[in-house]
Symmetry: none
Subunit: 225 residues, 2 copies
Amino acid sequence: MTKILLVEDDPALGFVIKDNLTIRGFAVSLCKDGEEGYEAFSKGKFDLCILDVMLPRKDGFTLASQIREKDTRVPVLFLTAKSMAEDRIAGFRAGGDDYIVKPFSMEELMLRMEVFLRRSQPTSTEETLRIGHYVFDCRNLVLLHPSGPRTLTHKEAEVLKLLCTHRDRVLKREEILKSIWGDDDYFMGRSLDVFISKLRKYLKSDPAIEIVNYHGVGFRLQTQP
Amino acid sequence: MTKILLVEDDPALGFVIKDNLTIRGFAVSLCKDGEEGYEAFSKGKFDLCILDVMLPRKDGFTLASQIREKDTRVPVLFLTAKSMAEDRIAGFRAGGDDYIVKPFSMEELMLRMEVFLRRSQPTSTEETLRIGHYVFDCRNLVLLHPSGPRTLTHKEAEVLKLLCTHRDRVLKREEILKSIWGDDDYFMGRSLDVFISKLRKYLKSDPAIEIVNYHGVGFRLQTQP
DNA sequence: AATGAATGTTAATGACTTGTTAATCCAGTC
DNA sequence: GACTGGATTAACAAGTCATTAACATTCATT
């Protein structure tokens, strides 16, 4: 049984999340402020923490770093309001923890949790890909990001998946064309470029992610600046 | 499973590196100071160590030499701040270990790790060439150096690769032209010289590396003084 | 030193590749 | 048979890069 520590002061939101997670088979401990969260964490063993950032009696970031002192491995996921300063958020991105901007869908929360939980116990066959701070659900063609989810078309997804499974490597234009459009007739149109252009648009919320063109060669999904 | 010992006191950076390496299939032990790093190394068996230089309770260099006492083969890679005195860095270059100047890209770290790991277990058909303190990734056309990465064009890469695979040997001008521009019609322009000029610019951060001209004959990539 | 050839370097050129938007096509579907 | 969503093409703007041009410098031989 996977145990979740949820610290959220807004009772409405807290119960919604707790119920949803419980239905999906998680054991959830709900705390309503930072101090209470810290006590709960000290006593129990948790597989994942979900912390609101704005909390009475001890904010989420402070709580997170105290949790880190006790356990360097446990994944911590923040819930933040949209009004939060971008640079503060950027800081936490860099720190490696994930965060979700309110309002969010349960689907999004679940996907992000899955990523974290899989990291600690690497088991199942991949169905979701991480691309920077995006999460791409290949199966449902959904690309998730705090700024909102987006459903991709079939071909968009194929191109993204191919780039993603070869991330940080240059894929020759011809390799991509062969892989997606088949090799019998060589494809002369500009379709690929149009898809690249679209994907760039979809991925532009994370500045660390870039599809780089190697002139005369091909493309590369760059995940490191 | 390749095991990595990572000693880094800055939690933000430590977790980023750890996560990135974990995603790429390495088993990472993260320690937050020199003493802890030493204990971890004494207990476990590691294939590679990544040490920050500035560490609480025992600096990276001291830790490295203690590690060397126990294991003369394990590769050690340093992370250093840019502010570090150049001569100190030079000393460690001479000692044979590699180092990476912060801030660095994960791509750079990965490539340098690959070089070390290949040295101990020569396996894959990787297409990276070492040129002094540069690392040249032929496939992605990326030339890495602590002062920063640079993407080469197709032809630049061809010339560099040719020089590099014949390093310390004089390549006749005609040999190069034939090899890269084809031999049917002899090439009369000055393109080759322009590329040599560019490559010299790219390689000038390492004074030990030089493209030498043998007047009337050809060029030589000199890696030994 | 004088000479002409070879090389070093920078900037300009022009062919080609890529980015992007809008229009068009096309296959399902109602 | 019109509608709809998505793939493809058209068309043009923008960018990249190998090559050339032009001029400076070095070299080998006298």
